[in-house]
Each structure stands twice: as structure tokens, then as C-alpha cells.
């Protein structure tokens, strides 16, 4: 009979008890989900994107269900840096599991300022730069679509973050993701997370109006998994060849332990679970359990063995 597999991994400069994290924007600040998960069930979580000042977000409707997925245009509503440090982080810091703080700036200076404050804060294990939000006018995806800008933002954050590792969350809404990952890696990112949501829209044919007040939104959920897998595979290959020290964190449509395993096999060192948490609040914990079970069944002794193990 197979032994219990060793699920611990080290990814993007962070020790994780298992390779499953909760994804930014789908898990609040963690506490919202505490009734539904066993403490320590996850490798960690990524917070909702934090900006310097609080943001109200977009007018409703902000979300709509689509075939095997959903669109959102939240507009990075969040409590802001000060409130996050004062009232959200202290609780998070006491929980088992890594705390990755997703952050968002409207300028390179704002990214740097956020990286400085959050990098110095106790209980933050890594920063994840959101250069890929499709739902805000300023900054956001604009940074993520030009390798030069990705490099500048990353370098500025790395310079201010001290010892805290910097991850960069990449947008799939580009023709070629590899140059963005390359720019992040060259600027000192320890990991790249992909994918963020795919730009989409929904129309009500009867009223001939867009369903979302923002007209366009980001597509997430099982519908995007094939795209995420393809991009993780491409970026992981590029990183392995040129920046083996940079890890890939894979996400997009993960609903089960098998889905998570597929991302690892494609080249991810860890995965994030997003929309699945909306379909069942304990989903991320269930997925971590299923992944361990899959490893045991497959005779995989260490979860890390799966990473990049695709036979082509």
C-alpha cells in the first residue's frame, strides 16, 4: 500500500504545507471562509487585491453566470492598505498557512509604496503584484500588457519589499505571455501566477443591454481551464529554460484535485483555487485533500514530483 505522500513544497520563496492556495478576490481576507475549512487545510491564501486607498469598486451588476463560468467586474473594491494592516492582517497572521498579499497600484510609485509597507508587515509571506486586472481603467492590465511595464513595476516592488518574495500575477489577455513572464523574472520576481481572468462580456438580447454595468468583465471558472493549462505549460517551459529559479503558480478553473494535478503536471509548483470556492465554500480544502489522495493512488511520494512531469 502506498505511503502518505509528502505534500509540502517550496514555491516562490515560500514554504507551503501543500501546493493548494486560495486565489485572490475569491477568498476575501480569509476569515469569511473560516467556518468552512479545517485550519491548516490549505497551503495558504492570497488576499483580495489591496490598494493604497480604499476602493468602492464598480456599480452593480458586477457578476453574471455564464456557461461553466462567470464574469466579474468588481473593480478591485477593497478596504485599502491602512485598514488591511490594522484589521485584516493580524487575524490572518495567526492562522496556519502562508499569507500572500495581492496588491494593486495605479502607478509604479504606488506599487513600490505598497510593497514597502506590506513587505515590512509581520505575517506577510509573499506579495503578489496584480498587473492584470481587466476591470479598472487606470493601471491594472495596462501594466501587464507591456513587458517593459511589467519589468518596471516588478523591479520597483522587489527593491522595496525587502526579504519578502515578490510574485507577479499575469494576465492572459495578451498575444504572448512569455515576454511578460520573462520581464518579471529578469526584474527579480520569485514566481509568476497565471492566469487572471479572460476578458469577456454578456449581453441581454431582449433589452439589448450589457448584463454588467461595466459592460466587460473577467471570465473565470471551469470554462477557462484549458487556456490556463496551455499558458502555464508555455510559461513553465520558458522559465525552466531561462530562469529555473522562478516558479509558476497555476490557476484558472480548478474544481478538483485532478484539475490541480493537471496544472502541476503542466509545470506549476503550486496552484490557486478561485471560483470553485463560490460553488462550495470548502472547495479549496477539499481540493487539497483530493490532490493528496491522487498522489497516494498514483504512487507519487512527493507532490513536487508532479511539477513539469508532462510526457510529450
Amino acid at each position: 500500500m502506498s505511503q502518505r505522500p509528502d505534500m509540502a513544497v517550496k514555491v516562490g520563496g515560500v514554504e507551503l504545507a501543500n501546493p493548494v492556495l486560495a486565489a485572490s478576490g475569491t477568498f476575501g481576507y480569509g476569515r469569511e471562509y473560516s467556518p468552512y475549512l479545517e485550519p491548516g487545510a490549505l497551503g495558504g491564501l492570497v488576499t483580495k487585491g489591496v490598494s493604497l486607498r480604499p476602493r468602492e469598486g464598480n456599480p452593480p451588476p458586477r457578476i453574471v453566470e455564464t456557461a461553466c463560468g462567470m464574469l466579474n467586474a468588481i473593480g478591485l473594491a477593497n478596504v485599502g492598505l491602512e485598514e488591511f494592516l490594522k484589521n485584516k492582517l493580524p487575524w490572518l497572521a495567526e492562522q496556519p498557512g502562508a499569507v500572500v498579499v495581492n496588491l494593486y497600484g495605479e502607478s509604479i510609485e504606488e506599487f513600490a509604496e505598497l510593497a514597502k509597507a506590506l513587505g515590512a508587515a509581520k505575517g506577510v509571506d509573499a506579495l503578489e503584484l496584480n498587473v492584470s486586472c481587466p476591470n479598472v481603467k487606470e493601471g491594472g492590465m495596462a501594466f501587464g500588457c507591456h513587458p517593459g511595464a511589467v519589468g518596471q513595476v516588478t523591479a520597483a516592488a522587489v527593491a522595496e519589499a525587502g526579504d519578502t518574495p515578490v510574485w507577479v500575477k499575469l494576465t492572459p489577455n495578451v498575444t504572448d505571455l512569455a515576454p511578460m513572464a520573462e520581464a518579471a523574472a529578469q526584474a527579480g520576481a520569485r514566481a509568476v501566477s497565471l492566469i487572471n481572468t479572460l476578458m469577456g462580456m454578456a449581453i441581454d438580447a431582449r433589452t439589448r443591454r450589457p448584463v454588467l454595468a461595466n459592460v466587460v468583465g473577467g471570465l473565470s471558472g471551469p470554462a477557462i481551464k484549458p487556456v490556463g493549462l496551455r499558458m502555464v505549460w508555455q510559461v513553465a517551459r520558458a522559465m525552466k529554460a531561462r530562469h529555473p529559479e522562478v516558479d509558476v503558480v497555476g490557476l484558472g478553473g480548478i474544481m478538483s484535485g485532478i484539475d490541480a494535478a493537471e496544472y502541476l503536471i503542466a509545470g506549476a509548483g503550486a496552484v490557486q483555487v478561485g471560483t470553485a470556492s463560490f460553488t462550495e465554500p470548502g472547495a479549496a480544502g477539499r481540493i487539497a485533500g483530493e490532490l493528496a489522495e491522487f498522489c497516494a493512488q498514483q504512487g507519487v511520494a512527493r507532490a513536487g514530483e508532479l511539477t513539469g512531469s508532462l510526457h510529450t
Binding site: G25, P35, Y36, G57, I63, M255, F278, T279, E280
Partner: protein, 262 residues
Amino acid sequence: MSASLKAKVLGNRPVGPQVHLMTLAAPAIAAKARPGQFVMLRVSPGPEPLLARPFSIHGVEGESLLVLYQVVGKGTGLLKEVAQGQELTMWGPLGRGFELGGDDPLLVAGGMGIAPLAFAAESLEQKGASFRAMFGIGSREAFTAWDAVSGDGDCYLEHWDWAAASEDGSLGREGLVTALLAEALDRRTGPVLACGPLPMLKAVARLCDEHGVPCQVSLEAPMACGVGACLGCAIPAKAGGYLRACQEGPVMDAALVDWGRI
């Protein structure tokens, strides 16, 4: 604390045109449920439809939970086909419910707004508190749904002090429930608890504001998580910004809502 569980469907029967009553075994949720709170219910285990649907808690019977729902689309269409014995993923109880203090509250229900208000009425009855109720409906035919909905088949309307307005005049006054409310407010009433379609809630909030009567409304918004994490369920706030229907609501003080932006 809220719980997530696989709830066994104990019953699922039509109680009126396009209106069904589902009974689910959910001890951990039933034990905590307060009137005005809701649950998130997944109508199918697969990826389609992906998201859970929010439903008010219509009542609690021992360890089971009642959900009164109207078939309006894909999810509720599938829900009505769910057979007894099947298990559905459900989490709750969620959100902020009604505050039931205050003298002689007036419950104003439009259409499916009866779902949470029947639970509120039941709690008031148990406390021995007096209250009145007003219903707004399309026609008498639709109303037959509601007098059969209490789980044991007992017609709860028999011991309520109630009035109705129907759009076609087939039951009670012809017209809208807000006309009845306006008259009641002119006389004097206790705090108003309202649930129903948005235009009705807007009118109710305005009338109560004009009469200086406190008003709690149960609001709807598209929801993904139900637990305050996705920020999808934004309700424009009078003070600026947004409130989360699933967290600061679904029951809110009508004075906190920016009705002009909703």
C-alpha cells in the same frame, strides 16, 4: 457559525403556479436560522449551472429547513425536478435577518416576498407579539400558493391579522399593496418589515420615510459566494460606496440604501 453541508431533500412539491416548497434536512443550519437570513443552494453538482442560488429561509421544522421558491430560470427550473432523497450542497444561515423588536410590526410582502416574512411572522407568533401583514399579489390564483405553504398544511393565515391587494382585484383590494400601506401609515403603524420586487420596496421605503416610520427591507442582488468574499452583491449605500447584500443584508434599514442608485 454557518455550516456547509450536503442536505437531503425530504420534500419538493408544487404549492401554486410556478411556486414550489422544498424541505431539506439541515440540522446545523436549522439550529441557527433567524428570520430574514438565507442559504446558498447548489441545484446540481456539476459545472452547469455553476453558481449556487440564494434563497430565503422560509421556515424551520425541527432539523429541517423550508425553502419556498418560484421557478424563474435555469436553476429554479432544475430545482423543481429534484427528487426526494437527493442531496444538494447548501451553506448557511447567511446574512443579517430582520430585527423583530418594536411594537406591532407591519409585514409587507410582495409576491415571493412572503418567503422570509412567513418565517418572521412565525417567530413573532412564538414570542406572543402582535403584528399585521399585507400582501401584494397578481391575482387570487397566485395567492393559493401561500396559504398552503406552512409545512404541516396548516393555513397560517387563519390566525394572522392581514389584508391583501391584487392587481386584478380578485382578492382584497384592487391595485398595489403600497396603497394599503399608505392608508395604514396615515393611521399609524409599528415598524415596517418588507420583502418583494424592487419597485415595491422602493415605494415602501419612500412611504415609510415620508411618515417617519422605521422600515427594514430584504434586498436581492446577484450573488456568487454568499459569505462576503466576492463583493459581487453590491447595494448602493446612502453614505456612499456599497453594502454587501449577503453580509450587511439581505435585510437592511431602508434609510441606509441609496434608492436612487439601485
